[in-house]
């Protein structure tokens, strides 16, 4: 096969991309868990994270290139800023595009349309306010850190892996142990019963959006480090992250992580044979195949038992 000769470097690159897909996919899965709706505007949460991280670093670093430990520090700052921006955007998104419709018990077609509208509004607004050309984040993480099976591992991959794993672990514990997580699980299991038991559904839904937004925003910044930040950056990664969420079993947080990693690798290996421009087509093919043969995903939809 054409990908056998540099299998490991493709594999590792795929895993790194997969971590980002997983971070975004968790946002889809959380919202799907509590609302049974695909949040079409999640791509813009991701984009907001990219811009916030970029502006923070641009303001603090300027044009000079930070090195060594300070680079890591700035990256952490960018991740934090991205996460916060993602959370804020997700919060307002729920307030404006979802809550008025929920109050009215609108048909779910209306939710999907309103979310698509919000998505187009947000990314074009970003294009208007922040310019339409891609900008580069002042931290790069290009150096090779170590070699494994002959594959060079860039420090960028390590940064992604470490921060993503930290966030996965954090989220997993939040959902499993805290009151917030219990609320999300309860609503995902049965919204009506949960509300009868005194769970404030409005608040839980809002929290699920924000939690997903935090991770999506952080992923936006991490993605921007290598690919640059531009107002349309959300579309393709978000579509793939949705594929990842379905692949793992939508509504299932661990499934989203597994699905993200699987998709990252699965789209990267064949792209060595057919060329990188076909990578998106491969990912889309995977989505269609999953929907055809295993619509419940790898781990199954464990709505409500997501931790």
């Amino acid at each position: 096969m054409c990908f056998t000769q540099n299998f490991w470097s493709l594999f590792i690159g795929g895993l790194a991309n997969g971590c980002l897909y997983a971070l975004i996919a968790i946002g889809y899965t959380l919202v799907y868990g509590v609302l049974r709706l695909i949040n079409f505007a999640h791509s813009e949460v991701f984009m907001a994270g990219g811009f916030a991280g970029y502006f923070i670093l641009e303001g603090m670093v300027g044009s000079r290139q930070p090195q060594g430990l300070s680079e890591v520090g700035f990256a952490l700052l960018g991740i934090l800023g991205g996460a916060l921006a993602g959370g804020v955007v997700a919060f307002f998104l729920e307030r404006v595009a979802y809550r008025p419709l929920r109050r009215r018990h609108a048909p779910r077609l209306a939710f999907l349309i309103s979310a698509i509208g919000a998505s187009y509004f947000l990314f074009n607004l970003a294009g208007k306010e922040f310019g339409r050309d891609a900008v580069e984040v002042p931290v790069t993480f290009t150096g090779t850190l170590f070699t494994i099976f002959g594959a060079q591992v860039q420090s960028y991959y390590v940064l992604i892996a470490v921060s993503a794993i930290t966030m996965f672990a954090f989220l997993d514990r939040v959902v499993a142990l805290t009151k917030l997580g219990r609320g999300i699980r309860a609503v995902a299991e049965d919204a009506e019963t949960a509300s009868l038991m005194g769970v404030n559904i409005d608040r839980v839904i809002s929290q699920a959006f924000v939690l997903g937004g935090l991770l999506g925003g952080a992923a936006g910044f991490l993605f921007g480090i290598s690919a640059g930040v531009v107002y349309t950056m959300g579309f393709t990664p978000a579509l793939k992250a949705f594929t990842a969420a379905v692949l793992g079993g939508i509504g299932n947080i661990r499934g989203a992580v597994l699905g993200g990693l699987t998709l990252g690798v699965a789209e990267n290996l064949p792209s060595a044979c057919v060329g990188a421009s076909w990578r998106d087509v491969v990912a889309f093919g995977i989505l269609v195949l999953v929907l055809l043969f295993r619509p419940t995903g790898l781990l199954g939809e464990r709505l409500g038992r997501s931790a």
């Binding site: 509208g117 409005d202 594929t243």
Partner: protein
């Protein structure tokens, strides 16, 4: 399954509290009555206060939308530039005015509606019977035939390339979104397939067809190939819950552009296909050639639009149309009554696709040049906005919505009022979608049946769409 349970399963928000507060359909009580609220909570929950905040925030956002552009080096300059004091005061004033109007409307709405009803029902009194309505249709067609002769060539071009094509596209998407209640975001893919089919059979692509055909003969090929693509894509995905259809079609719309760009040997790649012939016919010595002038194309399009309007009207009032209504209103009940739901969903999807394919052929022939950049996902979103704005499920809605939005878009291109910039079009359209969904989901020319369905769905009866998700895990 118990209907109320079905609604609760969706988790569409406060299903539980909704049952308690929504006393009767059309009742005035919107506010959840919750015990033990602090004063702040009461103030924030008060509908009036919420509305005031909404109006103010909305108009400040509008101020930013209409304001100057920013850039990556000065990210806040656009926003601060939009919010300099006298300007923002104007928008705050407008916001307060909107709030006052909405408050007055909710307080005195009933009496205002009664007063306006006398005015709005006047046309209906003028056209009391079916025959008079046919007269109105004929007048509309006469208007559409005569007026374009007397406008500038710029507007004739807009009329053909923008309004006419998009009216046709909106009519087709209306079958999918309006009649069948599905969400298709990859509509552009079928448009592209129609255009590339036209290019293929006319010999404009790098690969050559067995015989080169004239445009009229290609019409069935374009329609059939788009329809086939619709069936192939629709059959697996329409089995699944509706949100998946939306995202799969979105992905399909995205990759069709990638495929068209990267399959250079077949589609001509990023350069596209050049020299697609114009329409012509030559029967029994009668021959006519549609050249580069716009007016003949306009009449060709007008003919096709009128034919499809009539065909879709027949369809909507046929057995198939009633099946679609049944699926929208209660999919489980429809299925229990022996309706093959999948078949009818695929049918709607394929009809929409074939209309788009046909529109693609018309565009390709009229502009005689296509490239992948004409078929971005944005086109799908634009057509969706046209359908939603006009009114889901309403044929006249699709036509009027498409004509209005396209007209304003091109009007603003020539006369940039309020600091409108063409590259911000999709920002306004996105905002329009959200606003429509919040305030007027049935559109400006609502289909009466669709409007009632949405109202009923909001009171927990039926679904008003065919997303088949209200019934738990219907995978």
């Amino acid at each position: 399954m118990n209907r109320r349970e079905g609604q609760g399963e969706t988790g569409a928000g406060q299903a539980g509290t909704g049952v308690l507060t929504r006393t009767s359909p059309g009742g005035q009580t919107d506010e959840p009555v919750e015990p033990r609220q602090s004063r702040w909570q009461r103030l924030l929950a008060a509908r009036n206060f919420r509305r005031a905040v909404g109006c103010l925030v909305g108009f400040v956002v509008l101020a930013v939308m209409l304001g100057p552009e920013g850039s990556a080096t000065a990210p806040l300059s656009g926003i601060t530039g939009s919010l300099w004091s006298p300007r923002v005061l104007i928008f705050i004033g407008l916001g307060l005015a909107a709030w006052a109007i909405m408050t007055a409307q909710s307080r005195y709405g009933a009496s205002i509606r009664q007063a306006t009803k006398r005015v709005t029902s006047a046309p209906r009194r003028l056209v009391p019977d079916q025959r008079a309505r046919y007269g109105l249709y004929i007048a509309a067609i006469a208007f559409a035939v005569i007026v374009p002769m007397h406008i500038s060539s710029y507007w004739q071009g807009v009329l053909v390339e923008q309004i006419g094509i998009y009216v046709l596209l909106a009519l087709g998407l209306n079958v999918v979104v309006g009649f069948a209640g599905l969400l298709d975001l990859g509509y552009v893919a079928f448009y592209a397939i129609g255009a590339y089919t036209a290019a293929y059979w006319s010999g404009a692509l790098p690969v050559h067809p067995p015989i080169t055909l004239s445009m009229f003969w290609i019409i069935p090929f374009a329609i059939l190939s788009a329809m086939l693509a619709g069936v192939i894509l629709g059959t697996p995905t329409l089995r699944l819950r509706g949100g998946y259809l939306a995202i799969v079609t979105l992905g399909f719309g995205e990759i069709i552009e990638i495929v068209a760009t990267n399959l250079g040997g077949f589609t001509g790649g990023a350069q596209g296909a050049l020299g697609i012939p114009h329409f012509r016919f030559n029967i029994l010595g009668l021959h006519y050639f549609w050249g580069i002038s716009q007016l003949p194309y306009y009449y060709l399009l007008l003919g096709f639009v009128v034919i499809s309007m009539f065909a879709f009207w027949l369809l909507d009032n046929s057995r198939v149309g009633r099946v679609w209504a049944a699926i929208r209103e209660d999919e489980v009940a429809a299925e229990s009554s022996g309706i093959n739901v999948l078949k009818y969903k695929v049918m709607a999807f394929a009809i929409g696709a074939s209309t788009a394919g046909f529109a693609g052929l018309l565009t390709a022939s009229q502009i005689s040049y296509i490239n992948p950049g004409d078929f971005t996902v944005q086109v799908s979103i634009l057509v969706l906005v046209l359908v939603i704005f006009g009114g889901m499920g309403s044929i006249w809605g699709a036509v009027i919505g498409a004509a209005l939005i396209e007209y304003f878009q091109w009007f603003l291109q020539v006369h940039p009022l309020f600091g409108y910039q063409p590259q911000d079009l999709y920002m306004y359209l996105g905002a329009l979608l959200v606003v429509m969904m919040i305030f007027r989901p049935e559109g400006i020319v609502p289909s009466r049946r669709r409007k009632r369905e949405i109202g009923l769905a909001e009171h927990g009866v039926g679904t008003a769409d065919a997303l088949s998700e209200s019934y738990g895990q219907a995978v």
